[in-house]
């Protein structure tokens, strides 16, 4: 029984660790395509973690969360994001506010802060939850860092996606937390709207420039 408990913990930690690694790698990426692949990997790992927690806690809600994550964040959203990048030719469009090295150093600092803030409070409660929480908080903070260091709207959305993965990771690790499915669906709605927003933005920019150049061309010819 003890061995099973340790195995449970270490597999949960392993999955959370892989998620953290992906979130950290996101900081170093300059190309949108690679960023999308990374959040896709994050979503796959997250759904695996949700399935595992569902099995351990015996909760159907967590299975549902896993399935939703797998379908929407694992496949649908990345496909939509890739479409947008291809359609508007955004492959090389990522501008960073600061050098990648610097943002990675800040990222390490954030992980340190997350661990320091969460871990010492573990007196009395289940420690597994706390370690998971520390990792989830790191993912959340790294996602926010990605959002602040990128200028491009689409990479901000990707940062938000990563933040959201961290939130869902925290939620599935909470013992017996109600509403996990509802909360993750509510977050997804927000995300879907963000993606639509980017799409509208790009569409508008595209057509506006087309429109303007057309008018200018007509004007130059003297109508």
């Amino acid at each position: 029984m003890m061995g099973l408990q340790i195995f449970t913990n270490s597999l949960a930690h392993f999955l959370a660790g892989v998620l953290l690694l992906c979130a950290f790698a996101l900081l170093s990426q300059r190309r949108l395509a690679a960023m999308i692949t990374l959040v896709q990997a994050e979503a796959l790992v997250l759904s695996a973690a949700a399935f595992w927690q569902g099995l351990v806690q015996g909760s159907d809600g967590l299975f549902l969360t896993g399935i939703i994550t797998l379908c929407i964040k694992g496949f649908l959203l990345p496909i939509a994001l890739r479409r947008i990048t291809r359609q508007f030719n955004l492959i090389r469009a990522v501008e960073t506010v600061m050098p990648v090295g610097l943002s990675m150093i800040i990222g390490v600092g954030l992980i340190g802060i997350a661990v320091m803030v969460v871990l010492p409070g573990s007196a009395g409660t289940v420690t597994l939850t706390h370690e998971d929480l520390a990792i989830a908080l790191s993912v959340v903070l790294l996602g926010l860092l990605v959002m602040t260091t990128r200028r491009n709207a689409l990479s901000q959305v990707i940062g938000f996606l990563s933040t959201e993965n961290g939130l869902v990771l925290a939620a599935i690790g909470m013992p017996g937390m109600p509403f996990v499915v509802e909360l993750s669906v509510a977050l997804l709605v927000l995300l879907a709207l963000l993606v639509v927003g980017v799409f509208v933005f790009q569409l508008r920019e595209h057509f506006e420039t087309l429109d303007l150049s057309g008018i200018e061309a007509i004007e130059r010819r003297g109508r």
Partner: protein, 488 residues
């Protein structure tokens, strides 16, 4: 089903209907009908509280009831003036967008009531999330580049705030584990409040920081205020009124409730940090930043957006001082500010409409100056609203600000100087507007216009402010004091 549940569900159901059918004017009328029904329901909640719906998820406490009724009232008067707004702007948006607009008004109302009546931290979060999505859609409706930009800014900042608030919610759930155990009760406000002393203090502090910054974004506390002036200036005018009248209060009351948990835990030696300094610093920062930002604004709605930041800051400051009297003053300040600000936005919308169109570009002070030449009743109402906002006597806000200042001198004497300076500078920045706005010669294209009967809503708001500030009914005083006593 309880009255509370009907009051929350009705706007959402109406939103579905409004979103799919009807001409713009029909939509505006239906919007008005639903808002008046909801207002009646929010008043009925006082008579029949209790009766928890969905295992007690939805259970209005006195604080929620008072602000629920206020939200219902503001939504009703906004819906009345919305009819004139729709008449003036009808050609400038397609029928489909008008449907979305009215649906979003209802969703914002429903979500605000849900946030106020919810006895569950998860449900509160969901309400704020829904309200954010609705407000974003609403602000983006004019489809101009600046409106889209404002909506995007709101969405990104709001999204980050929502993410932080959700994390805080989960950590709070974890902090409740030792006292309450797993399950739904660990997310209930009333259960958390009764067990506040046994919560895990460290985790509670961590949760509070996230919740403060998360909901603080929605309440537009500095430094998380960036979205507010843009969203106010670019969205459709009545929607701005709903934003300032409803959503700010929901977020601020959420912050107040969480701060109370911290304070109770701290007082009992549970290991949490005192929440006062957090609220005091954010509140004071909001007030002082506004004192600088109010100068040199050209757009009226942006200007009064900054003034909203000032007043949520003052309320947060009052909550930070601590003690029943200060919390009473903060709640009174929120009540009065909501009434005055929504009246002001209604008057401003009418003023802009009398000068052509109430569209986002038409709220410049230079465009609105000299209202007296356009319409006397409108000019006096507008002047009265602007004056009421300064907080000088006999404006209603004077009573709450006086209470807050006297409490500050008593409990935090060092902070009374910056508070006083901030209040005075803001008052001067606002009062210097009255002259140009009312008496200056109007722009050449302005023609006299007859003010419609709809202007009465502004008068009713101002009258209510005077009653609340200087002759508050005894029942309400008792209710507010007992709320403040319970939350100190």
């Amino acid at each position: 089903m309880s009255v509370t549940a009907i009051a929350v569900l009705l706007p959402f159901l109406a939103a579905i209907g409004l979103g799919f059918a009807g001409s713009p004017l029909q939509g505006a009328l239906l919007n008005l009908v639903v808002c008046s029904l909801v207002f009646v329901l929010t008043v009925l909640v006082f008579l029949a509280p209790g009766a928890g719906f969905l295992h007690g998820l939805l259970q209005a406490d006195p604080l929620g009831m008072i602000f629920g009724a206020l939200s219902g009232f503001v939504a009703l008067t906004t819906a009345i003036s919305n009819i004139d707004f729709v008449r003036g702007e009808i050609e400038h948006m397609s029928a489909r967008r008008w449907r979305v607009y009215h649906a979003m008004c209802q969703v914002m109302l429903g979500a605000s009531l849900l946030g106020l009546y919810a006895d569950n931290i998860g449900l509160l979060w969901a309400a704020v999330e829904v309200a954010t999505v609705a407000a974003t859609l609403g602000v983006s409706l004019p489809r101009s580049a600046s409106a889209l930009e404002a909506a995007w800014k709101y969405f990104i900042l709001g999204g980050v705030g929502i993410a932080l608030a959700l994390f805080g919610t989960m950590v709070l759930y974890l902090a409740a584990q030792p006292a309450v155990g797993p399950g739904l009760s660990a997310m209930s406000f009333s259960v958390l409040a009764t067990h506040a002393t046994q919560l895990d203090g460290r985790l509670l502090t961590l949760a509070f920081v996230f919740l403060l910054f998360g909901y603080g974004t929605k309440a537009a506390l500095v430094p998380l205020h960036g979205w507010l002036p843009d969203a106010y200036a670019e969205g459709p005018a009545p929607l701005t009124t709903m934003l300032s009248g409803l959503l700010l209060n929901v977020a601020l009351i959420a912050v107040l409730r969480f701060a109370h948990l911290m304070q109770a835990n701290f007082s009992a030696g549970g290991g949490a940090v005192r929440p006062g300094p957090f609220l005091l610093s954010l509140g004071l920062a909001s007030l002082l930043l506004t004192a600088f930002s109010l100068w040199g604004r050209r757009d009226a709605r942006r200007f009064f957006g900054f003034s909203s930041i000032e007043h949520t800051g003052i309320a947060a400051f009052a909550f930070g001082i601590g003690g029943a009297a200060a919390i009473f003053a903060g709640l009174l300040h929120m009540l009065l500010h909501t009434l005055i600000k929504s009246a002001l936005f209604q008057a401003l919308t009418r003023a802009a409409a009398s000068r052509g169109r109430a569209s986002p570009g038409n709220f410049a002070f230079s465009h609105l100056r000299g209202m007296l030449a356009t319409s006397k009743p409108l000019a006096w109402m507008l002047g009265a609203c602007v004056f009421a906002l300064t907080g000088l006597p006999p404006s209603g806000l004077f009573s709450s600000e006086f209470l807050i200042v006297s409490q500050t001198i008593q409990r935090q004497p060092l902070l009374s100087l910056p508070l006083g300076i901030g209040l005075v500078v803001c008052a001067i920045a606002i009062i210097r507007l009255i002259g140009p706005l009312i008496f200056n010669p109007p722009p050449p294209a302005a023609v006299p216009v007859k003010a419609g009967a709809g202007i009465c809503t502004v008068g009713v708001h101002l009258l209510l402010v005077l009653v609340l500030a200087f002759a508050m009914p005894l029942g309400l005083v008792r209710m507010l004091s007992s709320i403040a006593g319970a939350l100190q």
